[in-house]
Symmetry: C2
């Protein structure tokens, strides 16, 4: 675990959202592995899911149900991903949703299923069904931290955050939780994240807002470059705060709301990287001066996915040749290597595509010794830019993933 | 080191090629780090180099010199890659070539420089210049094994191979050596490989033959997905065997010659993977039934580069969910997941995109326990196919690359 991880989590309740957790025996440990989130009627919900074509059964059901009803319940299990099991996986997820729907007297399609954990083992649906009645009885608005805890798999800490902003004199709360540590690669959404606000938000604008926020947060992180089959991120707006309805026509308040959501998503995304499997370093990659934002992303991803760069960070070795090599194979159309400039913290290590004249190894080593490191790569070829977050590759990453099923 | 690596290397001399090695003090150890290869006048030489835009100084000089003269000498050092040093790196490489050119009375451009080792540290050119006179005196046709040894960096064994084929009653020899263990990813050529034959080969056909052979051998391997800045592969044909000149119009003998070169390149490429940094398993990925060969390559690379798949192989864990997840994010246009079939050895683990009904964990575990494992992925969507070779990801990969400069 990265020492920079927060020690105590405090999360604010959101009017219109209640949560309950349980230990249903899906995990081999006795830890909690089930979370039910209740969403007040008439809430807005936006969602993004993995781009992996082998999407897990619950992701397939979510996509289908979202076409047919507004979500009222989210049923999330950890310990089993319910992925790669064909029709049996879909049926197991449906049975779990049905148990909530009948007990809560809502339609099947208003219950969304989510799973995370081991891929390709049958989901023990009966254990979940058995736990549902007690879950419904124990729903409470102050259970966000317990919820963040219940959705953990290899995560070493529970992850979440809250924001309060003022909208025309009304205090609006935004709270989010997420999980994720391995199989982390940006595409659409990364792992499980649930963000709720009591703000009133106009129809049709919540989904585009979530897409933009995810594009600058969850889609800008990588632990190991492996894209999950179960990624999902939901943004819920209950409208209970009593603020004037938010939409783009409100200009300044809308801008501040979008900024608060984006900042919270970024905070959650960074927590995932800080808790990356085996991570000992938190690395911010700032790409500047690319021909476009897509080029900036390609360079950031090449560097972030390079095992050689990642092991160099683990070793606190300012091996800038490996960074330069990764930039050199990034799939972008035009790269003028003679313009490339690279900074490690404030230290210029590469200028004009070669070792900077004034660079001294001791200065690079001093930056490398830190737990939080910023790497800036300037291509001096345009206005494209991206901030991206990743971690190092350590013995523990290998250990965690070699031992995962044993 | 993978236990399947050959224990004793026997390499046949090639008429028209002589070699000499030395310990010039470039490596921190006292091991040999310099190889000079002399090529008889009137030989044909074909070459491919890295696609990394941050190509090392010697690669830049090679590309330039090959435009201007036929190579007579190859001067190869290990221990320092001479990369990322701008004009100083080019000058250092030029000085080394100049020392051979003047002592051997050939043009500067007929001496090609090659370097491998640490990136971004100044090349000690004077140490090489000092060693050149003795190198020229000790050239011998029977020094291939010593040559393979002298170009090693993190390689745990010297790598090479020989073939003899009959061309119209004339015995033609093909011998090759290579090095490479980390920073291995297919693109154009991978690491350093030198292949020589005494066959007479027509002008203009050697380069296309090498391109095809590399496309099915060195470009089909991956250790860590990091593309080197110094990759180079040369094919030398001295014409000393006395065979009728080989070319496409000779049909059958030409086909057998190309097959022998391709097989030798494949053998060398596989030796690199077997000696992959920290590797304990040798994995053959056979992609079948893709819409085209390019799709087959995309799927093979996604699986071969996945840290989660690689750690599962290290743990001998038949975690087919990770394989399926990697197939699911391969960048190909159309993937019908319901057709995907995956075999581990002869054991069908996935059929119709989900766990095969008859699959039992014990059968998968039995295959996983082996050192050489074949993974077959059939997309059932066309005739595209590719064989690809990779290794697992172990603690030792992290150790080797964390400690490389310390």
């Amino acid at each position: 675990m990265n020492p920079s991880l927060q020690s105590e989590l405090v999360l604010l309740p959101v009017a219109g959202v209640r949560l309950a957790t349980a230990a249903a025996g899906i995990k081999k440990s006795a830890n909690e592995d089930l979370l039910l989130i209740e969403i007040a009627d008439h809430s807005q919900v936006a969602a993004v899911f993995t781009a992996n074509r082998f999407a897990a059964a619950p992701v397939e059901l979510c996509r289908q149900y979202l076409q047919e009803a507004k979500p009222r319940y989210l049923l999330i299990n950890s310990g089993n991903a319910n992925c790669g099991l064909g029709a049996a996986g879909l049926e197991a997820a449906r049975i779990c949703c049905e148990s909530v729907a009948s007990a809560a007297a809502v339609s099947l399609e208003s219950v969304l299923p989510f799973s995370t954990g081991v891929i390709a083992e049958p989901l023990p649906a009966q254990k979940i069904v058995t736990a549902v009645p007690d879950l419904l009885k124990s729903l409470d608005s102050d259970q966000w931290v317990a919820g963040a805890d219940a959705i953990r798999t290899t995560d070493t800490v529970a992850k979440g955050g809250s924001r309060v902003i003022d909208i025309d004199g009304v205090a609006v709360t935004i709270t989010g939780i997420c999980k994720g540590s391995g199989m982390i690669r940006p595409n659409m959404a990364t792992m499980l994240a649930y963000i709720a606000t009591d703000a009133a938000v106009a129809d049709e604008v919540l989904q585009p807002l979530l897409n933009r926020a995810v594009g600058r947060s969850f889609n800008c992180i990588s632990v190991d470059g492996d894209m999950s089959t179960n990624d999902a991120c939901l943004l819920i707006a209950t409208g209970k705060a009593g603020n004037p309805e938010l939409g783009p026509e409100m200009a300044e308040p809308w801008r501040r709301f979008e900024q608060a959501v984006t900042e919270l998503c970024t905070e959650l995304a960074q927590l995932i990287v800080r808790d990356g499997e085996g991570a000992t370093k938190f690395i911010t990659i700032q790409v500047r001066g690319a021909a476009g934002d897509a080029d900036a992303r390609a360079v950031a991803e090449a560097v972030a996915h390079s095992p050689l760069v990642k092991t160099a960070f683990f070793a606190s070795d300012a091996n800038w040749g490996r960074i330069l090599a990764a930039v050199g194979y990034a799939p972008i159309a035009n790269l003028d290597i003679n313009k490339v400039e690279i900074f490690l913290g404030d230290v210029c290590i590469v200028r004009n595509g070669a070792r900077a004249d004034e660079y001294e190894e001791a200065a690079g080593a001093a930056v490398m010794a830190q737990g939080d490191i910023t790497l800036t790569i300037d291509l001096h070829s345009g206005d494209g830019r991206l901030d991206f977050w990743t971690c190092d590759l350590s013995y523990d990453y290998v250990r965690i993933n070699a031992e995962y099923r044993t």
